[in-house]
Amino acid sequence: MKADYDVIVCGGGLAGLTLAYQLRQELPDASVAVVERQKRPLPEAAHKVGESSVELASHYFGEVLGLRPYLLDNHLKKNGLRFICGNTQGPLEERPEIGPSEFPIVPSYQLDRGKLENDLRAMIEEKGATLLEGRSVQDIELAESDDAPHVVKTSGGDLTCRWVVDATGRLRILQKKLGHRRPSPNKSSSVWFRVRERVLVGELVPQEKAEWHQRDVDDVRWLSTVHLMGKGYWVWLIPLSTGYTSIGIVCHDEHQPFPTYNTKEKALKWLAENEPLVHERIEGLELEDFCMMPNYSYLTDRFASPQRWTCVGEAAAFVDPLYSLGSDFISMSNSYTTRLVGDYLRGALDGEVLEELNQIYCRLAEDAARTLSNNGRIFPHGDLMGAKLWWDFFNYWSFMCAHFFQGIWKQDAATLKKFRAMQARYYQLNSRAQTLLETWAELKSTAFGGPKGFVGLPSFPSTLADAHLELKEMRSVDETFAKMERDLVIGQELVTEILAHALRDLGSEGAAELGRRIGLSKDWDLPIGGERFEIDALPRRQRVDALPRIARDMERALGRVNGDKPLAELLDLALAAAASAPTMPQPTA
């Protein structure tokens, strides 16, 4: 087939540029062009949202693409995600704080998107990709037969290619044209802006509150992505290497309607009401580059097609910014694309492999959307948020990260299928965990639950800390599968512990209602009841020595509320209530 390029990437944002880099690096014989409507130089600091990267994307940028030295020299090393729950109207030092106590060993970064995209443009040219700047893509005409090229219609004329990638972000040319857009259960909106100075979370706490400041022995708290959590919303503070601070408001529409904060003036007023300390700190500063995005979340039912196209980054799906997963999905869509294009150009594209990768991508996005929607009632509570973070991180590191880090996506169709079946088991457990957490939040009688003070995310030593460190160990495919199976069992214990905490916290009345609402059953794949629940009534030392490790970890992290009845009795109440209620639809694998 004759074509101008092997691959044309439409749109040169973060996804398109890193993909071009990866393609040229891994497939040096492939000719690659990027068509990007915006010319250089891009403004630094105030370019785009999406600065915070987490483990999966950091691994992609740093190790898969090999940009670690560049990132360390030009961007900030990030001190994990930090969540501050509790009473937003009270002093910040009295709000529960959940975050890393030490700089995480597995690195992650705060990216300055303007700087990064400027630099990446130069890097891809150096790698031999053709960058067509200042040209916009008007349409993508897909080939009608396998031996004809696709035609990319641009403002500077038509271009042909063998494989086409849509990386146009929210424009989503192919998704719209082909009807693959799917709604997300996450109904949330956001506004964000930059201020031209560092706004440090430490500045929100008076200097004389020495204990709160001293807890952060290395003075690196500010290098975290800080999330200030309130009912149905959160506010982010992200430091940028250029000295600016990115600040954003994210609200679930159900709790905080978009029109209450969608202009500069209204956003300031909203902050004054909801996060008065932040408002006080930034009052008088200019809010630069104020942007907004109502109803930002959407999914897809197809990111890759045997018709020789893929969609990467936001041109495929966008879930939610809470855990900074945007770049993770870029990493996965790019790496899967690189693999598929490589197979295709070698004449070895296996339709089953493509379909497996397509399925796993769509399911992971759907799963993340499940994790990140309908959870606004959880945010103010330190204990609930702590429980959620423990599970969500454990789940994220155990399946999604392991699948990516261990290169499972490079395997054959049968292996991919086996891992997708494993994903379905994680998905079912996650679904149960999320329902449990949300229902616990609905039933909670206090406005702010949980221990005051600091909770290590992860704490050391703990199951969660191990899960994090083990990300760096390379394993064979079989070892990876076996580890996922072991982790699933730990995950089941973890979710059971969340149930135990919820039951004790809600007491006999709430326990029955919890059981009823979630349709609790002994048939669930969880180690409910039995000896574990009997041990719970023992005095601390005996209890702690007899508990499984994860149970002790959770108790260390979340504190412990003793129920009005022993745990085993609370469980019986919950089970009995569920059994007498009309049956609930259960998540299926």
Binding site: E102, P461, P539, R540
Partner: protein
């Protein structure tokens, strides 16, 4: 900066940390109490205590010194020596995995 804590105040904070974290009766926590026998704590509890003590000392403890502590009195003495070290500006142990 807040005023430096004296020995009695450090003891009070230590009692608070121990009773809040480990379901202990404050009145049962005495200077002469041994951590591992009288108070029935173990090594993971000790790690958690040292994480919390950072709030008072503002320093990452030297794991070798921390390991030798056996009684509440020694724990109070340890906090005092950490506060002295902080005042003198002694370097902290290298960042490492918290023990």
């Amino acid at each position: 900066m807040a005023q430096r804590l004296n020995r009695d105040q450090i003891f009070e904070r230590v009692v608070e940390i121990l009773s809040d974290s480990f379901e202990l009766e404050p009145s049962n926590i005495k200077l002469e109490s041994t951590l591992y026998e009288d108070l029935d704590l173990d090594s993971i509890d000790a790690v958690d205590i040292f994480v919390q003590l950072r709030d008072i000392t503002g320093r990452r403890p030297d794991p070798e010194k921390a390991k030798q502590i056996r009684t509440v009195d020694e724990l109070v003495g340890f906090v005092e020596s950490e506060l002295d070290a902080a005042e003198r500006g002694d370097p902290e142990p290298e960042t490492q995995m918290p023990t």
